[in-house]
């Protein structure tokens, strides 16, 4: 983005305004959004799994698992995996900065970690896709 003297004077031209966000500010914003989403997921996950695990028969648990392995939920799992990867890897970046490591290289570290995130996410797609497509589970070695 070209920053002229004129745009610098506009009151909206602050890092607080999303139009002017740069790498670090986007990283921070996405960290908060993914964090809120993961917190909501966490509470739902604990309540849903715990409720189903009652009683010795396990009927509720098994029928819940049958629902959660439907393609719709598997696609949601991929979104979850994306949020987990982003929040974890950017979180490592935050931890490094708090330890005083790499602050001056924050952009490079961010994109390096994001490359790992993309690879791991594609790996997740490769593993989950056969189940979304409805093919039987691949037997392990």
């Amino acid at each position: 983005m070209i920053r002229t003297a004129k745009t610098r004077e506009r009151s909206l031209n602050t890092p607080v305004w999303p139009m002017n966000y740069r790498t670090g500010m986007w990283a921070w914003t996405l960290h908060r959004i993914s964090g809120l989403a993961l917190s909501a997921y966490l509470i739902v996950h604990i309540i849903v799994i715990s409720s189903s695990a009652r009683g010795p028969s396990g009927v509720n648990f098994n029928s819940l698992l049958a629902t959660l392995t439907q393609p719709f939920f598997l696609v949601l799992d991929l979104l979850l995996w994306a949020a987990v990867l982003y929040h974890t890897l950017n979180g490592i970046r935050v931890l490094l900065f708090d330890a005083g490591i790499g602050v001056r290289r924050q952009k490079e570290i961010f994109w390096g970690l994001m490359a790992i995130a993309v690879l791991a996410w594609v790996g997740g797609i490769v593993l989950i896709f056969p189940f979304i497509a409805g093919r039987p589970p691949i037997p392990g070695p």
Binding site: S50, R54, G58, F61, G140
Partner: protein, 137 residues
């Protein structure tokens, strides 16, 4: 590097949120963050990859949860995840300028949600060891 003569508006006292979320909570947020990397990786590995090609069933899960090791590990995961998640929500909310009384209420509500969720989750784990829940629900 140019020196800053006058602070821009967004850096003025009135614009900056009063971020008084506490030093200890900040520190514990970092500790739980580091722990969660290990715990979630372990959780993910154990539930999906430890036995290749295994379908998740109640029989398999209860066999695993009968060992005290997994009760301890899952309880730790439960506690650290809830703390980290809800304290994170609190941090986000505290960054908005709002009435301190509302902030205090938000913190208490999140604390109650956290304790209730932790006890609820623990109550589902304990029966695999003791044979009966702490309280029926």
């Amino acid at each position: 590097m140019a020196t800053i003569e006058k602070l821009p508006q967004y850096m003025s006292e009135a614009w900056l949120p009063k971020s008084n979320t506490g030093l200890w909570t900040w520190f514990i947020q970092r500790i739980t963050a580091a722990l969660l990397i290990i715990f979630i990786l372990a959780h993910f590995w154990v539930t999906h990859f430890a036995v290749p090609g295994e379908e998740i069933t109640f029989r398999g899960v209860s066999a695993r949860l009968q060992s005290p090791f997994f009760l301890v590990l899952d309880s730790l995961l439960l506690a650290t995840a809830i703390y980290h998640g809800l304290n994170g929500v609190r941090n986000v909310i505290y960054d908005f300028n709002m009435n301190p009384a509302i902030k205090k209420t938000v913190a208490w509500v999140l604390l109650v949600i956290g304790i209730v969720t932790f006890v609820y989750g623990l109550n589902a784990l304990v029966p695999f060891i003791t044979g009966r829940p702490i309280f029926p629900l």
